[in-house]
Symmetry: C2
Subunit: 255 residues, 2 copies
């Protein structure tokens, strides 16, 4: 399908794909993915830029008429990153009228893509080091951006991004995190740094360690981080079974 | 609009409304509401039953082509309950293929309503005493059901209900609750009971009181509950400003 609409300007491609998409996808429903990665103590988000536009978009797409929405989200991510084992979390659906107002003004009239769309938001946590962002046929760039230095967003994608970050912060209260964001072996200061970057605040080291130990999802290795000035160079891995159980049932410790 | 399709059997009404709905509403998108109320120490949920069906459904509907989804949800609830000041919380969107499989088998072919629908779930908390469930033209019953004694659900509505309850429990960890579920003046044991019923477990009284006081959302009145064998008969109201602030920003105390 993609081959048929590969050539010509962005506008040409929109027009050629319009009829094809109308056949293939459900009308009025789209998916947008907020893909977080962690690297060098920074939280990053994967953004894409449509040809000829200055603003950036979340990687997104449509739902095949015979596809569950979660499968659609996985397929969209796979096409953009090649990643197959991604932790995807549906966090909110965006359905204001006028979400894409203005965006299609300079393109042909009557495009299927210019109809009203209600977009289902997923956030994903991805191991930054294992993937390779891919430009699709509508984009001229696809890149990681540090969340401390974000570019301008297209349409309501800034709002979608903000809501994803809020939800990720809430989720830290009852779900484990880190498996898809840290290398296999990590130190407690590295895990703490991940929480601090997401929450955008410093945490007390003692409290953090105690809480983490109570969660019972870590396994201490008989190995230490070599080199560097680490205060707690002991290396840990996640206990896969306990981690999966906590992800499924939640910590539920607050009440 | 509703007058045109008021008469005839359920099947007739589905068919008459099909063409009207196609003009008026967005295709493929529906809304389902899980409406919780609290009464006599029981949590209840509002369910409706289609004419001629044995199973029960969540009150739901469609999205007008020119309407934000949150407005659509409010309008659906208003039509069912007359309530206008409802705390609505979008919790998840349901988009498996085959969600309504089998439901339309005995009805006319080609109905707009029998297309594939992706349903946006909202939960609502409503003051049980102030509202009056309404039967719509497709239903022969609309009633509160105790969550400890639920009837069979239609389609995937059981799954939608379960997810709403899970989300409500999670939300207790970072949001205040009670304003729409308790009478204006209440005792601390009454507030604790509400939490216990939602969480389906007993809470330690001392911990609960300390936590609630730390949240700073209660105002103690110079008044006591009369009659009955209350251990802590002091009456409280919510501090409206602090409650609204906590609802907006979350308690965020966990980390």
């Amino acid at each position: 399908m993609e081959k048929k609409i590969m050539s010509g300007s962005f506008s040409d491609k929109l027009q050629t794909s319009s009829a094809i998409y109308k056949e293939k996808y459900l009308a009025h429903i789209s998916i947008d993915c907020v893909v977080f990665g962690f690297h060098n103590d920074c939280l990053k988000v994967l953004l894409t830029r449509f040809e000829g536009e200055n603003t950036w978009a979340l990687p997104g797409g449509y739902v095949d008429k015979n596809e569950d929405i979660i499968e659609a989200a996985k397929n969209i991510l796979f096409r953009r990153t090649g990643a197959t084992d991604v932790y995807l979390n549906q966090f909110k659906t965006f359905g204001k009228t006028g979400r894409s107002e203005g965006f299609f003004d300079n393109y042909p009239k009557g495009l299927w893509q210019a109809d009203r769309f209600i977009s289902i938001g997923y956030y994903a946590l991805i191991d930054f080091t294992t993937l390779d962002p891919k430009i699709d046929m509508f984009s001229d760039a696809c890149a990681w951006h540090d969340i401390q230095a974000l570019p301008g967003f297209t349409m309501d994608h800034g709002e979608i991004y903000n809501e994803a970050l809020l939800q990720l912060r809430r989720d830290l209260n009852y779900k484990p995190i880190g498996y898809n964001l840290l290398p296999e072996k990590f130190t407690l200061p590295e895990l703490q740094k991940l929480y601090e970057v997401i929450l955008d605040k410093e945490l007390n080291r003692g409290n953090f360690y105690r809480k983490m130990k109570r969660y019972n999802i870590l396994k201490k290795l008989d190995e230490k981080r070599k080199g560097g000035a680490h205060k707690s160079p002991d290396l840990y891995v996640f206990n896969g079974d306990e981690y999966a159980k906590a992800l499924e049932n939640g910590f539920q410790e607050s009440w």
